[in-house]
Amino acid sequence: MASLKDLRMKIVSVKSTRKITSAMKMVAASKLRRAQTAAEAARPFAERMERMLGTLAASLAGQSGAPKMLTGTGADKVHLLVAVTADRGLCGGFNSSIVRATKAMAADLLKQGKIVKIMPVGRKAREQLRRDYGQYMIEGFENLGRKGVVFAEADQVAEKISTLFDAEDFDVCTVIYNRFKSAIAQEVTRQQVIPFPVPAQATKADAGAKAIYEFEPGEEEILADILPRNLATQVFRALLESQASEQGARMTAMDNATRNAGEMINALAIKYNRSRQAQITKELIEIISGAEAL
């Protein structure tokens, strides 16, 4: 049985852990608010970009010579998986759920005889995927969004993806990230960005006689311009969502940790009091029985 001193020390240590986790929880909560606002503010751009692209794609439908980024290379052989995680841990299942989804998808694709490449975005993705899928890994990104995600960072990632695509290094590109549902719930999302899936309802609505758009310069020039932009926008959105999810996940995880630490302290305190009482009783019995023996 642990001595009283050991128990006391243990209580002190759990208390200081609780202080740290509760501070982390509060930091995450304030960061969450900021990240959430940023993610929401970015939605209009992505929505309008999508609408415009839908219109363009609809008017180009059936014509040849559409850019490859929209229609794909025609092949379905090499898949690029972009796994978006955080740089840090201590946020519950946030990172591992992305890693698990990536592994599952990679295994599935490999089984179908396809070639898989993995681009890790975030330190945790690289660390956790390195062991099993190290040979498929290509260079990725770290330290994104330290001070809030900015568009330039998303642009870098998109630039890299499109460079690879132009070099015909892959046919299909999917981004795997945590979509922010609420502060306590994230949803692992697989979004295909190349070839870009044209939203079905947009194609239908705009293909009608309702709006016949004029294009300046031509459809193809605009498309060639807009597609890389759209890629950057999609990546940007994924990064923002992931950032908000990370803070949400960390907040929940730290909240749980704080609560567990509290429970542990209570249990330890009871144990401490009982053993202290037991020791006192024992001493009393010793004194009394010593006196009686005389």
């Binding site: 503010a41 970015a42 751009f45 309008r48 758009y213 605009i222 311009d225 807009i226």
Partner: protein, 133 residues
């Protein structure tokens, strides 16, 4: 003029402007164009330059954009801009700094892609400088 056109200026980070105005003059790649209500639907690319918003018979605001896309239809004009700065906020230092950064990028550029990128930055910086006058 009772009818107004809904003008929306959106950057990747947020919705910057969304208000009904009389007319918007946008620097399209193939020339500036003014969009009023009931404009024929069109989609165009936007070159770096200044968007001038006319409302109530005068220029209500002018905003510099570093390129992007514009979609016009009967009741709405949406401009997707990568970057937008109100013209009043542009300073000589800002323009000069941007230009220098762009030139440095061109000097450092190795691949064609990087060169094209730097070339584009220079165009933006020049447009920024011109917008000040």
């Amino acid at each position: 003029m009772a009818d107004k056109i809904q003008f929306e200026l959106v950057s990747p980070a947020k919705l910057l402007v969304s208000s009904p105005v009389d007319m918007v003059v946008v620097p399209g790649t193939e020339g500036d164009f003014g969009a009023l209500v009931r404009h024929a639907p069109m989609i165009t690319t936007v070159r770096p330059g200044v968007i001038v918003v006319h409302d109530g018979g005068k220029v209500s605001s002018s905003i510099f954009v570093a390129g992007g896309f514009a979609e016009v239809n009967e009741e709405r004009i949406t401009v997707l801009a990568e970057e937008a700065i109100p013209v009043g906020d542009i300073t000589a230092e800002l323009a000069a700094a941007r230009k220098k950064a762009a030139k440095d990028a061109l000097d450092d550029a190795k691949t064609d892609r990087e060169k094209a990128q730097a070339q584009r930055l220079i165009l933006i910086a020049e447009a920024l400088e011109a917008a000040r006058h």
